[in-house]
Assembly symmetry: C2
Homo-oligomer: 350 residues x 2
């Protein structure tokens, strides 16, 4: 059988004042199995190469597809139109509206490439939420922005954030809102949609009936109603509805042990393929516990593949060249794998 | 220097229908460096020995102190008065008010021994919160019950739950309440008291200025106010007040990375000695992630040492003899260490 043509990956620059341009530069030094095009500002990328002390030519492309012709260990950059001027002169590590504006433009342009089928997958470098807000964006993060960009005919796709590393695949019901508001947002419909999206992702990943564990919200999953009623009022009905659709969902499980039970590691066979977490930190604490360098953020439900590192702009070390590109590299690898053959969940099975 | 006399440890039986009696029986087969007395029902303990298929004589004591004269690999049991009759005939794995009543009596009697200085430390086997409620207890768990029992002269000691394993020491601001109520309970005073209790525990553990990380409540610790205001309204003021008292507290840190940063493991030097978590599951998810068998629950702030395994009654396997005594054994070891020489936090330092 012929090996499929490697997909073209687009990497958005992220916030120009954060570590995004630096980790992209570092990652471009590593061997990759797919051609990559950086959607960003050429001058900012050249500055990042210098900040990292690298010898890495930066080629400005006329069209993203030209990246397939760029040799390895050369960075291919495609500049979207309407980028703010002077980005490469912004001080590192600070919130700046222009950096927010540029990040938004790069994401918009890259999403358009993905929707047009001109790239196989999208990898996004970190943005800063305060810079987005300073730039007037109504979106708190990538996920919400991509969801709006992928809307068609007035229909906004339901998307969910999945965090994945070697051991765990966690899909989040709520993400970038305060914890009180996250609890208010929990509903049978939102939880059921999350279970369905996780189920479809697992199926695309090669599992006929992915084993989906649904975590509770409250300590001990409510301890039979003594510690909160969300398990009875919204989580259990959503699980029952999913089961009625033939989905292998179980729970609500106690949040403090479900991730340990789902963990796939040497000598530890995980009980589940995917875990649904009600809140951002219930899901992210276990994924990040063994090191952020291994975690990848995957947006499920979009009409294209999108991954990102699971860390932020790290303003405290931006501009020093010290940022670790491991998570971005993992995101690039996972984007390629997803574009080629789905989630790869079968690798987690014993 | 003379080795100090090993402290006498008391182990409460826990819920007679749960795995408590079985894991105590299993743990009694392991070599321990301290004499132990089980505070419980003799017939129930004898049943558990049989359920586990062990050859382990069970000696009924007239006084707890007689445990010092009991040979190794013999279980020493002291029965408190007013235990319900027929406990050993209750079916395993079910909520029963009599099991709740017996568990409460054992805890009351053992706490009285501890307060009188007749034992060096208290280890508690798991109880079932619904059985407690069925027995009419107003307390949702051990911690609250022990706090009430330790009250003197109308003054109830402020206590906090600490979860500890080889890698992490986490102190919780809130525990056994629904998540909404936990958020409502957060106040400058409650958080500041938690930081103080953790600081004193660290100092008793041999660190002059323990490094205390305070986790935020909301995603990204509120992302500068975009995702909730509890960081600004209660957490930051508590940290500043603690710092003004000379405590080395920092934060609020993003909940999803602070535990990873604090982790002490081979090749990973933890940045902090103790982490303060706002909610039960923010704190327990990382402590349990690598396996519940290694976690120990320590109550800080009581006038005596108290530890327990960090798992529950496991009704699903109660009576089968298959329960794993590892966490109880770890709790026994930690109780002994705490009684002898404090928290042992210095061992976590690089």
């Amino acid at each position: 059988m012929m090996e499929p043509k490697p997909p073209l990956l687009a990497i958005t620059m992220g916030d120009a004042c954060g570590i995004g341009p630096e980790i992209i530069s570092q990652a471009c030094m590593l061997p990759t199995a797919s051609p990559c095009v950086v959607v960003g500002d050429v001058a900012t990328m050249r500055r990042a190469v210098v900040q990292c002390g690298l010898t890495l030519p930066v080629a400005q492309l006329d069209a993203p597809e030209d990246a397939r012709a760029v040799p390895p260990q050369c960075m291919a950059v495609w500049e979207p139109d309407r980028l703010p001027a002077g980005l490469a002169r912004l001080p590192a590590g600070q919130v700046h509206a222009d950096a927010g504006r540029a990040a938004i433009r790069c994401i918009e342009a890259a999403a358009a490439l993905a929707l047009a089928g001109r790239i196989g997958a999208l990898v996004t470098a970190p943005i800063h939420k305060q810079a987005l807000a300073a730039a007037g964006s109504p979106y708190p993060g990538h996920t919400e922005m991509l969801q709006a960009l992928a809307a068609s005919g007035g229909s906004v796709p339901e998307v969910r954030m999945m965090l994945a590393n070697d051991e765990l695949r966690v899909v989040l019901v709520t993400i970038h809102v305060g914890l009180r508001q996250a609890i208010d947002l929990l509903s049978v419909d939102r939880i059921l949609q999350t279970i369905r999206i996780a189920h479809r992702a697992g199926q695309r990943g090669g599992l006929a009936t992915p084993r989906i564990a649904v975590a509770g919200l409250n300590p001990h999953a409510g301890e039979g109603g003594l510690f909160g009623n969300e398990e009875a009022s919204v989580i259990e009905p959503a699980i029952r509805a999913a089961q009625a659709e033939g989905i292998l969902a179980s729970g609500p499980h106690a949040p403090d042990t479900v991730f340990m039970r789902a963990r796939h590691a040497a000598g530890h066979v995980g009980e589940f393929d995917l875990v649904i977490a009600m809140t951002h930190d219930h899901g992210l604490i276990p994924v990040k516990y063994l090191g952020v360098d291994r975690g990848v953020n995957v947006t499920l439900g979009l009409p294209f593949v999108r991954t990102s590192p699971d860390h932020g702009t790290a303003f405290d070390i931006a501009g020093t060249g010290r940022a670790d590109p491991s998570s971005l590299s993992a995101a690039i690898s996972m984007a390629r794998d997803l574009a080629l053959r789905g989630l790869g969940l079968d690798a987690l099975r014993p």
